[in-house]
């Protein structure tokens, strides 16, 4: 079997194991509907407060870096929804470090399923849909309130961007988990990149220094989660004077992110299996 065949088999088996494990956790969650409903509502309230901070800011100013409230809401909605999807699907992998530390990773390695699928689906927390819901609500408001000159391409770009953004955040989460094979206490470092990155993206690129925007575009391409495609949809100049076609790049960037994240994961797992710690 060639390398491509192995990867394909791994993905298929991984997806199968993921569904089995996540399904088990969902059934278990649903056994306690009331506590699930409460987790959902409190999640909505907490993430809702996040956007209230932005609303408060706009009670003092009319624009932030040249972006109006609905435009900032558009950025916010895209970033929060993508991140919410990634966090729901793969966020549990962030606990890898503690599994390495207490040795329970070994118990995953004796099961006939890829390890990444098992850690990602572990304790699948359906109540995390609250973040997605809140992001989607803000996005809905933004779409209704902004004055966009809609074309077919722009309409298609919104869902494509959401999925691409989720994949980009997912790649960051996987790479962060892979890093925990080496540094088991790196969960905070990972949070700085994921939560930090997500918060950064809620504000327009125009409020940040050029160096930071450059880093977030070329080195660590979070800008393609929302800044670049959103600027195009809103009819604004793209950050860093990027050419117009860069607005269609999110799916390609997302795919390109998967490769290093996958390799990092494999390298991390290989190093664990050769050192055992």
């Amino acid at each position: 079997m060639g390398e491509a065949g192995r990867v394909r088999d791994g993905l298929r088996e991984g997806w199968r194991a993921y569904r089995l494990i996540a399904g088990m956790w969902i059934r278990s969650t649903m056994a306690y509907r009331l506590s699930f409903a409460m987790a959902l509502v409190s999640g909505l309230l907490v993430t809702g407060l996040d956007f209230v901070a932005i609303l408060l800011m706009f009670s003092r100013v009319d624009a932030l870096g040249g972006y109006s409230l609905p435009e900032v809401a558009f950025l916010y909605g895209l970033s929060a929804t993508s991140f919410g999807i990634a966090d729901l699907v793969i966020g549990s992998a962030g606990r890898l470090g503690s599994r390495v530390r207490d040795g329970t990773l070994d118990t995953l390695l004796v099961r006939p399923a890829p390890v990444l699928a098992q850690v990602a689906a572990d304790r699948f927390a359906l109540h995390r849909v609250s973040r997605i819901t809140q992001g989607a609500l803000v996005l809905g408001y933004a779409l209704a309130a902004t004055d966009v000159d809609w074309t077919v391409v722009k309409v298609l770009l919104v869902p494509v961007t959401l999925v691409s953004g989720a994949v980009i955040f997912g790649a960051v989460l996987v790479a962060g988990a892979a890093f925990q094979f080496v540094a088991q206490d790196a969960a905070e470092v990972q949070s700085a990149f994921t939560y930090g990155g997500q918060t950064l993206l809620q504000y327009p690129p125009t409020v940040f220094g050029k160096e930071l925007v450059r880093a977030v575009t070329f080195v660590f391409p979070l800008a393609f989660v929302n800044w670049v495609p959103a600027a195009y949809v809103l009819g604004r100049p793209l950050p860093l004077d990027l050419p117009g076609w860069a607005a269609y790049a999110p799916p390609l960037v997302a795919l390109a992110c998967c490769a290093p994240a996958g390799l990092a994961w494999r390298a991390g797992l290989r190093s664990y299996r050769s050192t055992g710690s």
């Binding site: 278990s28 004796v110 890829p114």
Partner: protein, 346 residues
Amino acid sequence: MGEAREGSGVREGSGGAVVDAFIELDRVEKVFDVRRRTGFLRRERRQVRAVDGLSFTVARGEIVGYIGPNGAGKSTTIKMLTGILTPSGGRLRVAGIDPARERTRLAHRIGVVFGQRTTLWWDLPLIDSYRLAHRMYRIPDARYRENLDRLVELLDLESLLEVPVRQLSLGQRMRGDIAAALLHDPEVLYLDEPTIGLDVVSKARVREFLGELNTERGTTVLLTTHDLQDIERLCSRVMVIDHGRMMYDGPLAGLHEAGESERTLVVDLERELPPIEAGPAARVVRVEGPRQWLAFPASQSAAPLVARIAAEYPLVDLSVREPDIETVIGRMYADKETVVPGAGNS
């Protein structure tokens, strides 16, 4: 099953040829890089040979005790046999499969029980772990039903199935873990310290079950343990490793001889007395007030010694302590030359 229980004779033919070797290790090594902080930003790198040129074979249907002191390389060996760890050198096969390369294919054919950590899903009812295994291992429905019913009955799990794993006692959890490891009919079962921390009743139950599993289903069993009684009850063959090397491979009786191990008789007298004189076979090793400790060869019965002391001294209470593995191996080390039928068969 009688054949496999004879031990060493079955494993190797006259020319040293392996007969139906199910587990094969040939000069397997595992070297760890240990980094230690020696100062700010300064690190020292040291190589530790956890497993050092280990060779052995286990035939299908054998039940083998794998013992050694802490840090001897037992767990590292098990981790290599299950595909968790990649060996640094040598050749290793289980059921003809290279565990490190084909971890998931091997997983269908082995069962693993870690005494110290569970493979069950901690926050969910026990039955959920079994249902998941049913799907994940692709166990045919009828076979799953049959195996589950049998294991639930043999391991007395009926009342525990709906209990979340975290609420189970250690002994209950261990039984639950053993069942989980056997649902997919593995050909070999690895147990890493299966009786650690269990009470006497649970220990006996686990041992009895493992013995039956081996005789009735012909499952190959490899268990690491600190408890010599596990070995005495279950294993016809013992492998002792220390510092990653095979120190002894053969029947348990031979281990006691090789280690010249001693048992200890603890005697409580009515009052403080000079050291007991109990003949040439026993000697007093310690006196503390009215309590005295006597060492005597493990191969000898305690009965005549007890009778003699009871007849001549004002006896209040007594107990016999078995030698622990550390002591036996320690003695073996001190007297290396006399050891080892069958070890070092690399």
